[in-house]
């Protein structure tokens, strides 16, 4: 198996491993992520996705199996080198600021790593322009909106030129506009740089934009595939506490109400199109 940029090989992890009654938080999970992919890792609260995030960046180590990043097994020795290759953005935008201004904040990790001043200035500028926050470089982070804060957090990660960007529920505390801003930013980044992105989320609208979805359920990998393939499973997902994208929910509700739709629709436009065909079929 090509282990790609990041891979889990039969990974099991149990909190309180000495207590035999405790169910593993992650049980025998394997997957591999290739360079340049956008992967969404989805699952209900308690499905194991946050534990997976912690295993990805070495906050936790597997009880069994291996986590490999760029071919290297994650251990206490390799941890720091591996972390320097990955950027992470967390859930709460207020808990990740250290700088007094937006640009200080983005420069923080660079400065810590002894990057020369000139290069630092250039990288900060570049990272802020990638998330379209250059105009705010002298603002105080605390006065920004949630969406803007998360974009700055993404810039902070980008300034380190990571090979891999992990977003751990990065949109779940944002209002709808903030969520759209962040998702748009990721989409643009993907187009311009081809950066590998892993988004951990329970928002299936967000997951629908990824190339591949991994669904977690009760600590196990339930299914893996393209958004279209995964969403075809319909009720199976809702029973797991997840939700279908809006257009698909509407398609199902319309079918239940007796409208004989023939296709599954992922977007509002497609759905309205088919409804219109019904209507025009005089």
């Amino acid at each position: 198996m090509n282990s790609g940029i990041l891979s889990f090989e039969n990974v099991t992890f149990t909190y309180n491993a000495e207590d035999e009654k405790v169910r593993p938080a992650v049980a025998n999970v394997s997957f591999s992520i290739q360079q340049g992919e956008w992967i969404a890792l989805v699952g209900h609260n308690g499905s194991g996705k946050s534990t997976i995030a912690k295993l990805m960046n070495g906050l936790l180590f597997p009880g069994e199996g291996n986590v490999k990043v760029m071919g290297q097994a994650m251990t206490e020795e390799t941890l720091w080198e591996i972390r320097s290759q990955m950027g992470m953005v967390f859930q709460n935008p207020d808990n990740q600021f250290v700088g007094a201004t937006v640009q200080d904040d983005v420069a923080f990790a660079l400065e810590n790593n002894g990057v020369p001043h000139e290069i630092m200035v250039e990288r900060v500028h570049e990272a802020l322009s990638q998330v379209k926050m250059e105009d705010y470089k002298d603002h105080e982070p605390h006065h920004l909106s949630g969406g803007q804060k998360q974009r700055v957090a993404i810039a902070g990660a980008l300034a380190m030129r990571p090979k891999l960007l992990i977003l751990d529920e990065a949109t779940s505390m944002l209002d709808p506009q903030g969520r759209t801003e962040v998702i748009e930013t990721i989409r643009r980044l993907r187009e311009s740089t081809g950066l590998t992105v892993i988004s951990i989320t329970h928002d299936l609208e967000e997951a629908a934009l990824a190339e591949r979805i991994i669904v977690m359920n009760q600590g196990r990998k339930h299914v893996e595939g393209s958004p279209t393939d995964v969403f075809k499973r319909g009720n199976e997902l809702t029973e797991m506490g997840l939700d279908l994208p809006f257009a698909m929910r509407m398609t199902h509700l319309l079918q239940e109400a007796g409208v004989n739709l023939q296709e599954e629709h992922m977007t509002d436009d497609e759905l309205v199109d088919e409804l219109w065909k019904f209507y025009s079929k005089a």
Binding site: P176, G241, L253, V259, V272, D273, Y279
Partner: protein, 291 residues
């Protein structure tokens, strides 16, 4: 219990160089027994209004009436405890406020603090745990050994244990997965009905406001711009746009459908279920849709 805000203004750090105005001339009537949703863009003043509902903040201008009690700018208010007992607030991420050794003790803390006898406090805690769909065993567990969704429920039980007349909810489902979200929102609605509560929901979710509330108030730049019934508020997409809000998805899809087909649906569809029914009905009337 009725709450009334009249000409309420509020400035943080008043009379200091850091003074920041958050509310200006807010007039808002929350009738007894209503389910009012307060919506507005981030920074619109929603959370500041919320903190006036149980006198956590006192207005720097104007008057807040909470039931019979009057909180007035410049006048020192006494005995705020009785207000806090009657108006319970579920803050965002309430599980961050859990602290006691066991779930039982945590839920009992509020009532005991307000002089409810121990036996009665325990009775309430046991009843609430069941009502919130938690297994009995959690009562003796540490709240910190529970999952995020369970912790959220315990924190909510702690507020309900005070048996408030008004329940104020600040984004109560943030961070929960879709099923958890729906379960909690359905539960609040059930409590609203069965316990005759006055409910105030502060939310970013237009879908939740449309589904559950019977009144909607829009906050914008520290002012309460408009209040009305959900149908009225959410059918005016232009007005929503002015306040940087969007209509619920069902209403946006209804608009797309109507524009495309030229059909007019019977009513504004506040929920997905209503929209599906309305579309099916309209197509059936035209003799189309089902084959």
């Amino acid at each position: 219990m009725e709450i009334l805000l009249e000409g309420v203004g509020y400035s943080y750090a008043e009379n200091t160089p850091f003074e920041k105005r958050a509310l200006t001339d807010v007039n808002l009537h929350i009738p007894s027994g209503s389910y009012t949703a307060i919506i507005g863009h981030t920074g619109s003043g929603k959370s500041t209004v919320l903190q006036h509902l149980n006198a956590l903040l006192k207005p720097t201008e104007g008057v807040v009436m909470i039931g019979e009690r009057k909180i007035e700018a410049g006048v020192k208010a006494k005995d705020l405890r009785s207000i806090r007992r009657q108006v319970g607030i579920v803050f965002q991420f309430p599980e961050q406020q859990l602290f006691d050794e066991t779930v039982l003790k945590d839920i009992m803390f509020g009532p005991l603090n307000f002089g409810v006898p121990e036996e009665e406090a325990e009775r309430r805690a046991r009843e609430l745990v069941v009502q919130l769909g938690l297994p009995d065993e959690v009562l003796e567990k540490s709240p910190f050994d529970l999952s995020g969704g369970q912790m959220r429920r315990v924190a909510i039980a702690g507020v309900l244990a005070m048996e408030p007349k008004v329940l104020v909810l600040d984004e109560p489902t943030a961070g929960l997965d879709p099923r958890g979200r729906r379960e909690i929102m359905d539960l609040f609605h059930e409590l609203h009905v069965t316990k005759n509560l006055t409910t105030v929901l502060v939310t970013h979710s237009m879908e939740d406001a449309a589904r559950y509330a019977d009144r909607v108030a829009i906050m914008h730049k520290g002012r309460c711009m408009v209040t009305g019934e959900p149908k009225e508020i959410f059918s005016n997409e232009e007005q929503l746009g002015d306040y940087r809000l969007q209509a619920p998805r069902s209403i946006r899809l209804q608009r797309d459908f109507e524009e495309r087909t030229g059909l007019k649906l019977e009513s504004i569809s506040l929920t997905e279920e209503t929209l599906a029914k309305n579309i099916a009905l309209a197509l059936a009337e035209e003799g189309r849709g089902s084959l």
